[in-house]
Amino acid sequence: MVLEAISRSGRLSLLDKLYEINWGVMLLIGAVAAVGFVMLYSAAGGSIDPWASRQMVRFGVGVGILLVFAMIEPRLWLQLAYPAYGFALVLLIAVEVAGTTGMGATRWIDLKVIQLQPSELMKITLALALARYYHTLAQERVSHPLYLLPALAFIALPVVLVLRQPDLGTALLLSVVGIAVIFLAGLSWRYIIAAGVAGIAAIPIIWEFLHPYQRERVFTFLDPSRDPLGAGYHTTQAKIALGSGGVWGKGFMEGTQSHLNFLPEKQTDFIFVMLSEEFGLIGGLTLMALYTLLLGFIVLVAIGLRHQFGRLLVAALGVNFFLYVFINVAMVMGLIPVVGVPLPLVSYGGSAMLVIMAGFGLLMSMYVHRHEELPRGGRLL
């Protein structure tokens, strides 16, 4: 194949690469983001300000990052994997030292221009680092205990730092993403089953380490009526909003729960509830269908790649993306405790949007260069 020949020589022109971008998926991403714009317009009471306009700008910047990332060859990502991970780790330590505190947790680092949340960055760099690690590791060594340890260390370092902030949600997310990569790399089932048993056994121990507010969240989740005007208020009002939306919803800008401010955080974490209140079950399922299509595309891209680095990286990004959606939607529907996880591409918020778009940039880079191969050893082309 001609293309294959060209790709192997690594001589795709910029125009060729742009042509190779999956524009259908770009449209899909745009559609999901557009749902966000529409809901933010409604949340502001029928105004593009203050949320929808800024979100559009961020999305524009995100698209730019995506396109730039997509042009970069996988081997460069492979090279950058460890340094990027190291950089993110340093930033996490910097947060520990000089971070600003918001909402009772130190998560932000003020770079004057933008407020950076290093834990967000870590979600991508951890995937990069682990993918690189397993890329170079021989298949038969994946299940060797000695070679499992470095992978666990890659996960544990940022998780411990994030837990200290404290940010239980992100720590769990990072852990799950890392474990997923190890799982996909082909770790023996014996380990997986053993880890599962150990994990269940560890729940009481983890409980001891939880902060009181975190425990309270779990209690409130188990019984929202415990504190209907306090911590359970979010869950209760969100369920009322969702349920009252019914099948067809109350209509655009007609959501009483959201517009009369009964629904908290309607433009950020609880935006899915607002969508479901105004557009009903149909609206909610439509958005879920868009997410499913995106995730399906991610899996297909991953399976089709010719190198373990790309496969694991794409799959890890997919798991990350999935977790965002699942945790957010499950949370607003009262299935899991309230944790601060935004709905990707839809919730108002700069940091998350840029990280998600950067992730799609990496994904698209793999897709554009899907016919290339990467040698396993340290030798780089």
């Binding site: 192997r8 799982f183 996909l184 369920k239 349920g243 079950l281 879920m288 496969r311 694991l312 799959a315």
Partner: protein, 640 residues
């Protein structure tokens, strides 16, 4: 294909694991979809209700309270506009400064000021606080003009209860006041929870509370999570309370009130056949409007410490010894029991002795020989000591009860005291001592244990006037246009000839010279009033004082003076109205009470000229019995 086998192997392994992971993700998404279906389809209705409850707030609209009018439609209790000023704290930057500026127009007490400032801090900024109310039109207009300079202040017009006759009717109509915890017991009308709502606290206002109150309307408003009203969704106006028509004639009521102004007195006028109350005056009154607005401590103190007891409705709750007005009961008891005949003669020598105790007549020298009619006419105590002792306390008690004494007689008035008709059983039960004959003698002149209320005495007079029918006084003619059933008066089964003797005696009291109320006969041609005076002692006359000469009332401090009583009816020929007048510590019945009764009865009988003419055309006109009494008087003097 240039992929090496190792990578092929890796790729296959990855694909299997990726499929497992992808499947897991799909399954979890399916769980989410299931949850969405559960919330939005299965449980949807329940959440719809909850969302509506969140969003919609029902505000009560108080109904207009029903008016109370007299028999001619004259308004006795109505509603008037209440001009008030409310403050919405969030509309002003500086609540204190706004209050200062308002203070230049409307005086604001320090208490109000502190309350408003406190509420403004503690409550949500859009909750209106009442700053001043019941303003007069002038002041209200001034506030209206200045509203541009008074940020946050809003002039408002509400409704409030108004009593045009003020204290003249306070006891009958009653008043409304703020809801108390007691009112909330067993009541679930949400209106009671409304701030500023008023309920009837006494009189007709209390008796007919449920009819007068009306039904609350409501306004459904949409509110946001903080309770601020976004818009009104629907409005259902309330149903105003029903109009109550009383049997009162405001003209008579006002006249009687004016007649006893300055005194502590009661006047009751009732229809002898129907029992309708024409006037029911307890003086002095109090201004019921004050209770609606809320009394100040000094106003309250002034009312409670007033020696004239303005807060007590004396017509119902004032219990007085009936004095000589009780003598008709003794006479009837004796006649009905067959103990004496009307012709029975007793010679009055000024006193009688019972054991070591002397019982005196009011006339020191004695009345000489007395028959029943003359004894009533001149109110001879010795005559009634005699027949009272003959008939005994049991018959007296029985007759008292037949005429409504000792029980609550009013059909539809609250707060009535039962009075007291003593009996052997009562004495033994309360004091443990058996009945003494001397006590019968005391009872025979309406002293001692006997207690009656003005409304009972009026009822007694009515039953004597109407030929012995058990009429009962009532006040509410109709509510909401529906007439109240007129209570049917049963016969008391008293021989007409016996009643005729009593009526003859009462006629003589007023219309024959030497009658105790002769000076108070009506100044009308052909129409007369019959009656009986009474004097209730409030102190004991000691032997010593009697020896020195009984002190005249004007020599005594006010509170030791006798109560003056008068019961009567008119016109004599065709009795239609019964009257009872009691002037507390007014002195004797003939000097204090009878003149009031004369004036009020004159007013009653001349109120309708057509009717007056009808009374006058009766062949047996007023004073028709006077001839007989003169004859018997002549006969007696011949004997004496």
């Amino acid at each position: 294909m240039a992929l090496d086998d190792r990578d092929q192997h890796k790729q296959n392994a990855f694909s299997r694991r990726a499929a497992i992971l992808g499947g897991g993700q799909l399954a979890l998404f399916a769980v989410l979809a299931g949850r969405m279906y559960y919330l939005q389809v299965i449980e949807s209705q329940q959440y719809e209700i909850l969302a509506e409850e969140n969003r919609v707030n029902v505000r009560l609209l108080p109904p207009l309270r029903g008016e109370i009018v007299d028999r001619f439609g004259e308004k006795l209790a109505s509603n008037r506009q209440n001009f008030r000023v409310v403050l919405i704290p969030e509309q002003t930057d500086d609540v204190a400064a706004t209050l200062d500026r308002l203070g230049e127009i409307v005086p604001i007490t320090q208490r109000t000021r502190n309350r408003v400032l406190k509420d403004a801090r503690q409550k949500r900024g859009f909750v209106p606080q009442t700053v001043a109310e019941n303003l007069d039109w002038q002041t209200f207009a001034e506030v209206n003009i200045h509203t541009p300079n008074l940020p946050g202040l809003q002039p408002e017009v509400g409704d409030t209860r108004h009593y045009p006759y003020g204290e003249d009717l306070a006891h009958v109509v009653g008043y409304v006041a703020a809801v108390s915890d007691k009112d909330l017991d067993g009541e679930d009308d949400p209106l009671l929870q409304l701030p500023g709502f008023r309920v009837g606290r006494s009189g007709v206002e209390r008796l007919l509370e449920h009819d007068l109150r009306g039904r609350a309307g409501n306004s459904r408003v949409e509110v946001n999570a903080y309770g601020r009203v976004i818009r009104e969704l629907a409005k259902v106006p309330g149903t105003p309370g029903e109009e109550a028509v009383l049997t009162l004639d405001m003209d008579i009521q006002r006249y009687a009130t004016e007649r006893v102004r300055g005194e502590s007195a009661s006047v009751v006028v009732m229809d002898v056949t129907t029992g309708e109350l024409v006037a029911i005056v307890s003086a002095p009154g109090f201004d019921p409007n004050l209770f609606n607005v809320g009394l100040t401590q000094s106003q309250w103190d002034a009312l409670t410490k007033d020696a004239l007891n303005p807060l007590v409705n004396k017509t119902l709750a004032g219990q007085y010894p009936p004095g000589s007005t009780y003598k008709m009961i003794i006479a009837l008891a004796a006649l009905e029991a067959g103990t004496v005949s009307p012709e029975h003669l007793v010679t009055c020598r000024g006193k009688v002795s019972l054991g070591s105790h002397a019982f005196h007549c009011w006339k020191r020298g004695g009345h000489g020989p007395m028959d029943m009619v003359r004894a009533i006419q001149q109110s001879c105590n010795v005559y009634f000591y005699d027949i009272g002792r003959r008939v005994g306390i049991d018959k007296i008690e029985e007759m008292s009860r037949r005429f409504g004494l000792g029980t609550q007689v009013a059909v539809d008035m609250a707060g009535e005291k039962p009075g007291l008709v003593p009996s052997r059983g009562w004495k033994r039960a309360t004091t443990g001592v058996s009945w003494q004959q001397g006590e019968t003698l005391n009872a025979a002149i309406g002293q001692g244990y006997v207690l009656t209320t003005p409304i009972q005495l009026a009822t007694m007079a009515a039953r004597m006037a109407n030929g012995g029918k058990a009429v009962r006084p009532w006040l509410v003619r109709s509510v909401g246009g529906r007439a109240r059933p007129v209570p049917q008066a049963e016969s008391l089964n008293i021989a007409p000839e016996h009643l005729a003797v009593i009526q003859q005696g009462m006629d003589a009291v007023v219309n024959v010279p030497r009658g105790t109320a002769y000076r108070s006969r009506l100044p009308l041609e052909g129409v007369a009033m019959a009656g009986k005076t009474g004097t209730a002692l409030v102190r004991r006359i000691t032997l010593e004082e009697r020896a020195r000469g009984v002190l005249k009332n004007d020599q005594l401090p006010w509170k030791f003076r006798d109560h003056g009583l008068f019961v009567g009816y008119g016109p004599v020929s065709d009795p239609r109205y019964a009257i009872c007048v009691i002037v507390d510590h007014g002195g004797g019945g003939s000097s204090a009470a009878a003149p009031v009764a004369k004036d009020v009865m004159t007013r009653v009988l001349t109120r309708d000229p057509m009717r007056l003419a009808a009374y006058q055309q009766r062949p047996a006109g007023g004073g028709g019995n006077s001839g007989d009494v003169s004859a018997s008087a002549a006969a007696l003097s011949g004997q004496g």
